[in-house]
């Protein structure tokens, strides 16, 4: 079961092209996930059950690489459920059963033998409520790399600095790396969580209502950050804020009662939705 080689270390460096080149140079791939295709994520005929209850019905969608895909829909329609299937966080839920395929980096992630650790390293997640660990800023960010066996101080320092820079927080935080992360403001904590997710070099970043607990200014910062980040990572974001979806996403998918009603370019979905339900929801939420 040679799924995951330990030597994948700091693979995040540089732009996408560089990392692609690196991959080509080294025939021993860093993991078995291969993100050279156009779509970062492909979902095929996905059904999901919580016990008897079917929370997702025949979902089919494709999320293109280096774009932001927004998922919208009324409460309880299954957005969080879907986003959690993308890195198998649903495995933690008792009685949750998945049928269908989710292809990420050329692999069906629900195949037997897929290494969860490797999957989650490639598919990072940012949660609704900021959830920094009760440790220092530094240790928060170093947690992921340490999980993957990086122990050298120099290497970790580098990763911490790079991740914080990527999350546009380096200047804010470089003097308080050893202070507890719990002392940061809510917005800072959330961006720290993004930096923490970036530290393991994910190809995809899942965000479930990342700004719903934040004030408008922090929200703006995170939106800016997303636009910046999509150069290097593919972002999937659940949001209840229509303006936010319209502002920053490239693709938008609309869900209703466990079904995906419509997915398309954001502009198209917002200006001329194909489905009357989508229109009703969007106009209702805008108006």
């Amino acid at each position: 079961m040679n799924i995951f080689k330990k030597k994948e270390a700091a693979q995040t460096e540089g732009t996408a092209e560089e990392s692609k080149q690196k991959k080509e140079k080294k025939p021993v791939t860093l993991d078995i996930f291969d993100f050279s295709g156009d779509n970062a994520i492909t979902v095929r005929d996905l059904d999901l059950f919580y016990g008897e209850f079917q929370a997702l019905k025949k979902i089919n969608m494709e999320m293109p690489k280096y774009q932001i895909t927004a998922m919208i829909g009324p409460s309880g329609c299954g957005k969080s459920t879907l986003i959690k299937t993308l890195n198998r966080m649903n495995d933690l839920v008792e009685g949750c059963r998945v049928v269908g395929e989710i292809i990420i980096g050329g692999l069906n992630i629900y195949d037997r033998g897929v290494d969860l650790s490797a999957l989650r390293k490639n598919v990072g997640m940012v949660f609704q409520k900021p959830n920094p660990f009760p440790m220092s800023v530094y240790d928060n960010i170093a947690y992921g790399p340490r999980t993957f066996g990086i122990r050298k101080k120099g290497e970790l320092d580098e990763i911490v600095e790079r991740s914080l820079k990527q999350a546009a927080m380096w200047d804010e935080l470089k003097d308080r790396l050893n202070k507890s992360a719990l002392g940061l403001s809510g917005g800072q904590q959330q961006r720290l969580c993004i930096a923490r997710a970036l530290a393991v070099g994910p190809q995809i970043l899942l965000m479930d209502e990342p700004t719903s607990a934040l004030d408008p200014i922090s929200t703006g910062k995170i939106e800016e950050l997303c636009e910046e980040l999509k150069k290097d990572v593919t972002i999937v974001m659940v949001t209840h804020n229509m303006q936010q979806a319209a502002r920053i996403s490239d693709k938008t998918a609309f869900f209703l009662l466990g079904e995906m009603i419509e997915m398309g370019d954001t502009e198209q979905v917002f200006s001329e939705p194909k489905h009357p339900e989508t229109e009703r929801y969007i106009t209702g939420r805008f108006g």
């Binding site: 966080m89 008792e94 969860l116 989650r120 390293k121 997640m125 660990f133």
Partner: protein, 609 residues
């Protein structure tokens, strides 16, 4: 091996280890039952089971063994103590929850600056917290101190004058001492039960025009009934198993408890009095084990019966009062009884405070003058008695016990909270066994340790430590579990989301966040070990005061007395009352400091949240 599969192996083997830790409580309970039963079989066979249970004479010189009188003594004393302690404990809890003011509201408008400052300072004190701490302190005071207080103050200072035979000890003295000892258990559990009653019951009753006292006694109190009954049952368990304090005030003569001043010999006392001089392998030894077995069965029945307190009848009466609209409303004009009960609560709370104050004063007044550097740390060079060997033994027992018990207890807690399906049968079984283990009386642990660990290690600090592991395991499991439960799920998710394995998540994220809880567990365990005596006497040993020395205590394969046992020897040998007081003072200070540490840890945790 690839990383993926090696993590898997690690995860699975860790899980297996945790399950083993969790099952240890089951093993311990069965082990105790089996060992003691096996050791009692000769007695049951020789004497005859019924002859043993219903015989009224006990004389080991003639090998006559019948425990009926002792059994009756235990039962009668327990019932009386629970009635007395139960009433006081429950009313104190009611007072604490509903009437204890937050702060003093003293006023002073005079010119004296000092008095002004004092008043301001007094007004700042949080009375509820103080009361909580009083109860916890009462719970932490070692049995030997209660016994000492009982014999000197209660018996020689009061009851002697009421006893026509001028003895004072016996049934009544035992009841009073036991009542004081079980009050903390009953009060704190009752308080939890009262606080768990939803606030809307209380508010609803007030809204219908009930007075506060009516609302409390007609609605909240009945709603908390099942919790209060459980509290009383646990109080009974504690009273049945208490040894050292009872031994000092019961009188130690095998009699039926036919009067308040009859000297008696409850089961625990018989065991404790004769275990010291028993010939190994004799029928006498077996008879004492059999006595322990009867005691164990009694306690098991009592502890297990808590599980049969119906949970449904929790709240029924209370809700009915609230739901009843119009004609069903229980509404009487200002009821007299609730008002009277309210004052009962205040009186009982007063009794509790006064008892504690009396014990503390008694120990301080008699103890402080006898404290000296040499007494504390004098060592072998010092002519007089010194506590140094006892400190050393206590320290060893604490360290060795914790080294063994902590990993086991934390492992069990991890299994229960992180791996097991909540509410599954298996978990329920384990929980029941943990509760059972925590209800086993110290002296039974002592007998078990004598049968198993002393056979392995000889009478030594190690045997004592292994015995204490079983004693403190439930405490560690419970408080660790509580702490794990308080760690937010989001932190675990964050860790998994970064690709961390379960085992890494537990060790790097969950356990560090639960650290204050684990620290509390450690401090509580230390307290328990320090206050323990009955479980240690036959395992770690009880040295004659004169023969204890640092040079012997320094080697943990030797027997040694811990502080409480040492204090008991001072008393039992009847030579050195001053030293007994001084030791009691030291114990009191340690208990106080440990309580303070727990308080500050928990305060910090609360602040963080």
């Amino acid at each position: 091996m690839t990383k993926a599969s090696s993590t898997k192996v690690k995860d699975t083997s860790a899980k297996v280890l945790f399950i083993v830790c969790a099952c240890l409580s089951i093993l311990a309970v069965f082990g105790i039952i089996c060992y003691i039963l096996a050791a009692s079989i000769p007695a049951f066979r020789e004497v005859g089971f019924f002859q043993f249970l219903f015989g009224t004479r006990w004389n080991h010189n003639t090998d006559t063994y019948g425990i009926l009188a002792m059994l009756c003594s235990t039962l009668v004393v327990t019932v009386l103590a629970v009635i007395l302690g139960g009433v006081i404990g429950v009313f104190t809890a009611i007072f604490m929850v509903f009437w204890c003011p937050d702060r003093f509201h003293l006023r002073y408008s005079g010119p004296n600056k000092f008095v002004q400052k004092m008043v301001a300072w007094l007004n700042k004190i949080n009375l509820r917290t103080i009361f909580d701490q009083i109860i916890k302190l009462l719970a932490g005071i070692p049995s030997v101190i209660y016994g000492y207080f009982g014999i000197i103050v209660l018996v020689q200072g009061g009851l002697v004058y009421m006893d026509p035979n001028y003895r004072g000890y016996g049934v009544l003295a035992t009841c009073i001492v036991l009542a004081i000892m079980i009050i903390p258990t009953i009060t704190s559990l009752t308080k939890n039960a009262l606080e768990a009653v939803p606030a809307q019951y209380f508010e609803g009753a007030l809204a219908m025009g009930n007075t506060k006292a009516q609302a409390v006694f007609r609605v909240v109190f009945p709603a908390a009934r099942s919790g209060i009954i459980s509290a009383l049952i646990l109080g009974i368990g504690r009273a049945v198993g208490e040894t050292m304090a009872v031994q000092m005030v019961a009188g130690g003569m095998v009699n039926f408890p036919t009067g308040l001043f009859i000297p008696i010999c409850p089961l625990t006392v018989k065991i404790n009095m004769e275990m010291g001089e028993v010939v190994p392998g004799s029928l006498h030894e077996s008879a004492l084990m059999a006595t322990g077995f009867v005691l164990l069965v009694l306690v098991l029945i009592i502890t297990l019966s808590v599980n049969f307190v119906p949970k449904e009848f929790k709240g029924k009466k209370g809700t009915r009062v609230l739901q009843g609209g119009g004609e069903n409303v229980v509404y009487r004009k200002k009821g007299l009884i609730p008002e009277i009960l309210k004052y009962c609560g205040m009186v009982c709370a007063g009794i509790v405070v006064i008892s504690l104050a009396a014990i503390i004063l008694f120990i301080c007044i008699n103890g402080i003058p006898n404290i000296s550097w040499n007494f504390l740390f004098g060592g072998d060079g010092y002519e007089g008695h010194s506590l140094a060997p006892a400190f050393l033994t206590t320290f060893y027992v604490i360290i060795f016990t914790l080294i063994i018990a902590l990993p086991l207890g934390i492992g069990a807690a991890i299994f229960l909270n992180e791996y097991a399906k909540p509410g599954s049968k298996f978990v329920k079984v384990i929980r029941t066994f943990i509760d059972t283990l925590s209800g086993v009386p110290s002296i039974v642990f002592g007998l078990f340790g004598y049968l198993l660990f002393v056979q392995i290690f000889g009478r030594s600090v190690f045997a004592g430590a292994f015995t204490m592991v079983l004693v403190i395991l439930p405490t560690i499991i419970r408080s660790t579990e509580e702490a794990l439960r308080a760690v937010p799920m989001e932190l675990r998710e964050a860790s998994y989301g970064l690709g961390a394995s379960k085992i890494r998540t537990i060790f790097k994220v969950v356990l560090p966040s639960a650290f204050p809880g684990i620290a509390t567990a450690i401090v509580l365990s230390v307290g328990r070990i320090i206050s323990e005596s009955a479980a240690l006497i036959y395992t770690a040993g009880m040295m004659a005061v004169a023969s204890s020395s640092v040079s012997s205590a320094i080697d943990p394969t030797n027997a040694g007395s811990t502080l409480t046992v040492f204090m008991y020897s001072f008393f039992a040998e009847g030579l050195a009352y001053e030293e007994a007081y001084a030791t009691a003072f030291v114990l009191l200070v340690i208990t106080f400091v440990l309580n303070l540490i727990v308080y500050f840890i928990q305060k910090r945790v609360k602040k963080k949240r």
